[in-house]
């Protein structure tokens, strides 16, 4: 039987990319001159795993390249080499090259050889650039990557000492020796000194060790292949026998070789022991077969789930099954006196279904650090390029958000952070002149607030120039000079498509380039973006996103014969408005007074053109006070129906985007109800969808 190596490839790539992230983060945290040994260690370990894994899977170019990086890191770890800014930068660049190589390998291609070679030369240069005695040391491990290049060995001396439990792992030393014998003439000396007295002999333990001499000029990799699956269960060393008959390499060489196989060992756990042998024999062939399969298969997305989450899921299913069987029994012989128990059972069923649903949603949740982790590098590189000193603070990286959000929020965030670095934070000289510390701070935070995820990007830079934006907006005819706009409304202007793309506003240069795209991306996720700024003190950009994209708590409302769902998170309260609370702005804009605020009224039946609305007079219906995109309004509907959780179905899959509607759901009776998109609805009302309410001056 053959094992599909492609599935392990997937795991390998995922782990390698994680390893690269670890390396990158570690390198960024390293202070030149005074490196934390633990930090270097973790970088080293990550590099080591990548090297081992790529060796196992036959990506030898990746393994070779990583090896050079590892050598450099090793010297830094042992204190043989000082951690310099230059070294760190070269390593960072190498991480990039490595990422390209792995990406290329994943797609079945190969990376830009020129670039790899150049980076490798760079690494070698750093390695060579040191005092004579340590240069010799560095040279030794380097050469062991390709010992065959230096001198052609005519044979190999192999020391093979199986651990006692080797047989129990399903491996047989005899098989290994036979395989070796197939490579060429083999001499074997058996060392029986480990053999205990007969009475103490465990038949399932292995006590023997061998010294093997293989008289064949084979590749070391071929020998390593044979030992591949027992590396962890034995001590072995492969020493080349050079033409002079003088083994050069020391036995210590075995140590890195067996360490390098660690990822392979992890993979082995996934298979029954019995399959290992056949697998090691077929590996070579499988590798070739699986490579094209991978390329055509495309990137199936997978998700790593905490076992705890799966356990709780299984528990929940267990409960559900119990409840189901209880209800089944009740149903078999039902009489009216069991009604109370039936109710109770149904209550349980509901609770369990809800819990189950929550657990399933949990699986889709990932910490936002997946997105945040790229920013230290981004800020590091950009600030160096721009000659600014910037400290990036991250908080709330463990806030969990839906996988889809993670995937889609990355680009908008990069844009915003880049804006902050580029245009927000001033140069050190300007900062000192403005009485601030030389180093600017960008704070990226995430937290749960209500039913939302709130991501904030705060910088202590120069802030938005309110007057310049207003001036520009008036120039472009976006607003009129006599429009009385609040600061917030002015900042909103930078999200206008036409506003940003044209020639740049001098000292807020570029702020807004592509901001409309950012806003659109965030709106697509059902979120909202807000900007707040203080000239000279900095800006805060707040992004609000729904917790999950699949299910929401909704309030059903009806207008005429039609039913709509309002997301519960958007609703502040629902009230009946008395006539004395109503007033008109400029003779037609309906508003009502709620405590100390005047809120505009949006008549849903007008915005959506619903012909048979029952309530025409405000006092006959219900006003649902909703909030979205930082604005509030009163939504006028006929009646409230009930609250329920609804599963969000896409309207766009088969139809298209509808203004004011964020999606659809299926009600208990099988009919479809549309879910309102409150910010979109307010926009629709403002743009004159409702003739009656005219242009709304929505309260900020």
């Amino acid at each position: 039987m053959s094992i599909d190596m492609a599935q392990f490839h997937q795991v390998f790539f995922e782990e390698s990319f994680e390893g690269l992230d670890i390396m990158e983060n570690g390198l960024l945290n390293m202070d030149p001159g005074e490196a934390d040994p633990e930090e270097i260690n973790s970088i080293f370990r990550a590099a080591h795993s990548i090297k081992g894994g790529s060796g196992t899977f036959g990506f030898s170019d990746v393994a070779d390249f990583t090896h050079v990086m590892e050598t450099l890191l090793d010297e830094m770890r042992d204190g043989r080499r000082a951690v310099t800014g230059e070294g760190v930068n070269v390593l960072l660049a190498s991480v990039d090259v490595l990422r390209d190589m792995l990406t290329a390998a994943q797609d079945g291609g190969s990376a830009d050889a020129q670039r790899v070679k150049a980076q490798r030369a760079e690494l070698d240069r750093i390695l060579a650039n040191q005092s004579a005695d340590s240069a010799a040391e560095a040279q030794a491990p380097d050469s062991d990557a390709q010992p065959l290049l230096d001198a052609e060995p005519v044979g190999w001396k192999i020391v093979f000492r199986p651990h006692q439990h080797l047989l129990r792992t399903g491996n047989d030393p005899l098989r290994i020796i036979r395989e070796l014998a197939e490579l060429g003439e083999l001499e074997a000396d058996c060392d029986i000194s480990g053999l205990p007295a007969f009475a103490e002999l465990e038949p399932e333990d292995s006590y023997l060790s061998w010294e093997l001499r293989l008289h064949a000029a084979v590749d070391k990799a071929q020998i390593d292949d044979i030992f591949e699956w027992v590396e962890d269960d034995c001590d072995f060393a492969v020493i080349p026998v050079l033409p002079e008959g003088q083994p050069t390499q020391q036995a210590q060489q075995a140590a890195p070789a067996s360490e390098a196989a660690e990822p392979a060992a992890e993979l082995k756990l996934a298979e029954p022991a019995a399959e290992r042998r056949s697998d090691s024999e077929r590996r070579q062939g499988d590798r070739r077969k699986s490579a094209p399969a991978k390329a055509s298969g495309g990137g199936a997305s997978s998700i790593r789930v905490d076992t705890g989450k799966i356990d709780s899921l299984i528990n929940m299913v267990g409960e559900l099954v119990i409840t189901q069987s209880m209800l089944g029994m009740l149903g078999d012989e039902f009489s009216m006196d069991k009604l109370a128990r039936l109710r109770e059972g149904l209550g349980q069923l509901e609770r369990h279904t809800r819990e189950l649903q929550e657990s399933v949603m949990q699986i889709r949740m990932l910490p936002i650090s997946f997105t945040f982790s790229r920013f230290p590098r981004l800020v590091h590189d950009l600030s160096q390029k721009l000659g600014k000193q910037i400290e990036l603070k991250l908080s709330g990286e463990n806030t969990e958000v839906d996988k889809t959000v993670i995937e889609k929020i990355g680009d908008p965030l990069v844009h915003l952070v880049r804006n902050s670095v580029d245009h927000g934070i001033e140069t050190p000289a300007d900062r000192v002149a403005a009485g601030k510390s030389e180093t600017g701070t960008i704070h990226l935070s995430a937290e749960h607030r209500g039913g939302n995820i709130v991501i904030e990007i705060t910088d202590d830079g120069k802030g938005l120039a309110r007057d310049r934006i207003l001036e520009k907006a008036i120039d472009r005819g976006l607003v009129r000079a006599d429009d009385n706009l609040s600061d917030k409304q002015i900042y909103e202007l930078i999200f206008q498509p036409g506003f940003s793309t044209a020639e740049q506003v001098s000292d807020v240069s570029g702020r807004g380039v592509g901001m409309d795209v950012v806003r659109r991306n965030i709106n697509e996720l059902g979120g909202a973006i807000e900007i707040d700024s203080q000239l000279g003190e900095g800006s805060t950009i707040t992004i609000r996103l729904p917790l999950t994209l699949a299910i929401l708590d909704g309030q059903s409302i009806c207008v005429g014969e039609e039913t709509y769902i309002v997301p519960l998170v958007s609703i502040i309260e629902s009230i009946q408005v008395r006539d004395e609370m109503l007033s008109l702005v400029a003779g037609k804009g309906e508003t009502f007074k709620l405590r100390d605020e005047y809120l505009p009224i949006v008549r849903l039946h007008e915005v959506f053109g619903i012909g048979d609305a029952k309530a025409e007079n405000i006092r006959d219906g219900i006003i649902v006070v909703v909030e979205g995109g930082g604005r509030k309004c009163g939504l006028f509907v006929d009646d409230l129906l009930g609250q329920q959780q609804v599963v969000i179905k896409s309207l766009e899959a088969n139809y298209g985007k509808v203004d004011g509607i964020s999606g659809a759901t299926i009600l208990g009776d099988g009919s479809v109800a549309l879910i309102l998109d409150i910010p979109g609805l307010m926009r629709l009302a403002t743009e004159g969808g409702g003739q009656r309410s005219g242009k709304l001056a929505l309260t900020a």
Binding site: G609, N654, V658, D659, I661, I666, V672
Partner: protein
Amino acid sequence: MSEDKLSLLGQEVAEDAEGVQYLTFLLNGEHYGLSILQVQEIRGWEQVTRVPNSPQFVKGVVNLRGNIVPVFDLRLRFGLPEVPLTKETVVIVVRAGKPGEERSMGLVVDAVSDVLVVQDDTINTTPDFGAGVPTENIKGLVTDGESMVMLLDLDSLVLQTGAEQDQDAA
């Protein structure tokens, strides 16, 4: 059968004596046909959920086994006089569009009539009537006994409804 030789959408027709099967239906007394491979099912008219601010020919959306599927009235789409929809009104659910971007939709028609086998070489090109008569969704004409059948190009229809939506959204 020839079906396995046809592409999924039935667009590329293999050279085959049996030809391609078309489902024909009636619309205001006219005969139309659409490739049977694009037909998912035929249903009776049922209450739809109206989509606000949508073109008149969009009757609304329905729940098709958990998917939200729009229902278009083909009479209105082609500018034919509207008739009241009853339980006897037929909805043909089709799936069409560019590969990878297929959309499902329901088409309201007067009645389904027959399955017609059409050889590729018997399809006549649609005469050009100028701007007065919309023919962009008709990919050809065939003769079935006494009557003329207009073969619908669903993919272009899907594209158009999609494009209109995109414009609305922008």
